[in-house]
């Protein structure tokens, strides 16, 4: 890894130079929540944000996504090849994108997702956990790759980790904005990380979790929570690793059709419905449990499908807590 320092006074110039790479999207405060939207001026950014409602997946797997247009009875691929910058992405969300990569880039790659991934310049940023975060237990609290530049807060600026050739080029071309990292900067970096590690209030015990959940298929805990759950699907929409989509053909005028995909949720009763009315997950219990299995699926090469971002907890209207459900299932079984 290459490390450089971005002094505080150069921050806004640095932000301006990134505009050469395309539109910049960053975290902006909206009442009491945050969203990634286009930002023209550093002042609009909320760099000490906790989490956005929708994770950055919305730039790669869009809530509504046009795939094809039907013109003269032939499909034409809809292309959106614009480069853009995602500014201020937290480590957990970077890990979320890496989990999506495993699905969308494996053979055959999804061309829409792939081109957006290639067109994105990702600037990570260090953060402090709040009461919902449990990324530390999942090892997603620090990103070793998956970004171009990563900014770590220092008292007088930023320690920048350079994570890709594209990132390196930006630093190279704007050398005058950066300085060498000093011993003192490294000490501050370490102090911040230690303070952060101590700030986590919530943790997930993942020891043997995959096996325990599998054994607890008939646990009463699933039932208890499935009764509390409203089946609204919020938790899946806001999750940085949820990715189910539905496809539909929309007539936009007499001879023009758009084939579009949009977010679907395994909480919807239609998710497992097939022809003839047969449903493979007919009850709320089946659907509730399925989500926990999907998020806690342990892939030996990639870990869990949850990055501990805390969104599902913060935005669940029934106040169901992810870690709590898993811990209760564990307790009941053991």
């Amino acid at each position: 890894m290459r490390y450089v320092k971005l002094p505080a006074e150069n921050f806004s110039t640095f932000f301006e130079t990134l505009k050469q790479l395309g539109k910049i999207y960053g975290p902006v405060k909206h009442n009491s929540t945050y969203t990634f939207i286009q930002v023209d001026n550093v002042k609009e950014l909320s760099l000490d944000y906790t989490r956005t409602i929708l994770p950055p997946k919305k730039f790669f797997v869009k809530p509504r996504d046009e795939l094809f247009k039907l013109k003269r009875e032939k499909w034409e691929e809809v292309k959106d090849g614009e480069s853009f910058v995602l500014f201020g992405v937290h480590s957990c969300d970077i890990h979320g994108l890496k989990i999506l990569d495993k699905v969308y880039l494996r053979d055959p790659p999804d061309p829409y997702y792939k081109s957006r991934r290639e067109n994105a310049f990702i600037v990570g940023i260090s953060c402090m956990p709040d009461e919902y975060c449990f990324c530390k237990s999942l090892g997603t609290d620090f990103a070793m790759d998956g970004f171009d530049l990563f900014l770590h807060k220092l008292p007088d600026g930023w320690l920048v980790r350079v994570g890709s050739v594209k990132g390196h080029e930006v630093v190279w071309e704007n050398q005058e904005l950066f300085e060498e990292v000093t011993e003192e900067d490294l000490r501050h970096f370490k102090e911040f990380e230690e303070k952060r590690a101590k700030a986590f209030k919530r943790s997930l015990n993942k020891e043997g979790l995959a096996d325990i959940l599998d054994l607890a298929f008939n646990s009463q805990v699933w039932k208890k929570y499935a009764e509390k759950c409203l089946g609204c699907g919020n938790c899946t929409l806001v999750c940085p690793t949820c990715r189910c989509y539905e496809v539909c053909d929309n007539w936009i005028r007499a001879y023009e059709v758009v084939r579009e995909r949009r977010y679907d949720s395994c909480f919807m009763p239609t998710h497992g419905l097939v022809a003839g009315g047969h449903n493979f997950r007919p009850t709320r219990l089946d659907r509730f449990r399925h989500r926990y299995y999907c998020k806690s699926y342990f892939d030996p090469s990639a870990g869990f499908n949850c990055v501990g971002c805390g969104r599902c907890d913060e935005f669940c209207p029934a106040k169901i807590e992810h870690v709590r459900v898993l811990e209760e299932v564990r307790e009941e079984l053991l």
């Binding site: 795939l67 094809f68 039907l70 009875e73 499909w75 691929e77 699905v103 969308y104 494996r106 055959p108 790659p109 999804d110 061309p111 979790l209 995959a210 096996d211 959940l213 599998d214 298929f217 990715r243 189910c244 989509y245 539905e246 496809v247 539909c248 053909d249 007539w251 059709v257 995909r261 679907d264 395994c266 998710h271 497992g272 419905l273 097939v274 022809a275 003839g276 047969h278 493979f280 926990y292 299995y293 999907c294 806690s296 699926y297 342990f298």
Partner: protein, 288 residues
């Protein structure tokens, strides 16, 4: 190449198999695609009715014969729509998808095909592939149907009831609803046709379980009973193959609709399947 883009295919023939099922014979408009399109029995394609939507359908013709055929049951919005198409019209096809049956591995062994209702469609691909290549010891087909009127590929089934043994193919049929035609058929082939369900057809049949594979396709309820029958006879869970159905949108492991399993094993029916062994079902919850 965009994997969601379908190829243009012309419907060259439509045959009414029953009141609900039609057989569509298709040829790709692009000659190169038509010539290079290969598949394995058990694989499926996604049919693209441009402007209306897409749905998955098993290839029901054998890879040894061209052009390709799809047997489509009219059950809902899109299948009702395609039943209104005429010969000469075009649709879109993308695929083939899924793993298919590992038939190379089964060469030299007996194949026990167990079909229930529409499950006959993918198994017909295996059936004729096995007959055409002659690479298998003996082919058994146990087919359970509602009534005489519901028998898919009725002419082929009757032909095989008559002449199957010459092709090393032993066909038996069970029907549930008694109609004059069924009774007539039963009279003609008293050893091979009976009233009952598909598991009744196993009665009196002997096969070498160490040199046989079972291939099952039918409605979800059927699997449990057929598998029990096969296990009771000593067939290993690794020799029982079945093809499964789920809601599917992409067919290539992206949309998440067909995912089954738990925290220790998750499978995509479209990509890891639709063909699985009974052992897979034992180790992946929710598969059957």
């Amino acid at each position: 190449m965009n994997p969601y883009q379908s190829y243009d295919a012309k419907i060259i023939e439509i045959r009414e198999l029953t009141s609900r099922e039609k057989l569509f014979t298709l040829r790709f408009t692009d000659r190169e695609v038509e010539e290079s399109f290969t598949f394995k029995p058990g694989q499926f394609v996604v049919v693209d009715l441009r402007g209306y939507g897409e749905f998955p359908i098993s290839l029901c013709s054998p890879p040894t014969r061209k052009p390709i055929q799809l047997c489509i049951r009219r059950t809902g919005r899109l299948t009702r729509f395609i039943h209104k198409f005429s010969e000469g019209e075009s649709i879109g096809i993308r695929g083939p998808y899924g793993n298919g049956f590992p038939l190379e591995k089964m060469e030299g062994a007996n194949l026990i095909l167990v079909a229930g209702g529409l499950g006959m469609a993918p198994l017909r691909s295996v059936l004729w592939y096995a007959i055409d290549t002659g690479k298998f010891e003996k082919i058994y087909l146990f087919y359970g149907t509602k009534s005489y009127e519901d028998i898919l590929f009725r002419d082929e089934i009757i032909y095989l009831l008559k002449h199957g043994e010459k092709l090393n193919c032993h066909v038996k049929l069970a029907y549930e609803v008694e109609t004059p035609s069924c009774i007539y058929l039963e009279k003609g082939f008293s050893e091979k046709v009976c009233k009952g369900v598909v598991t009744d057809l196993f009665r009196g049949e002997e096969f070498d379980v160490n040199n046989s594979y079972a291939l099952i396709c039918g409605p979800p309820v059927m699997y449990k009973f057929v598998i029990r029958e096969l296990l009771d006879r000593g067939l290993s869970p690794g020799r029982i193959y079945m093809t499964l159905e789920r809601r599917m949108k992409c067919g290539i492991g992206k949309c998440g609709h067909c995912v089954v399993g738990t925290s220790v094993s998750m499978k995509y029916i479209c990509k890891d399947g639709p063909v699985f062994t009974y052992w897979d079902a034992l180790s992946t919850r929710g598969l059957i």
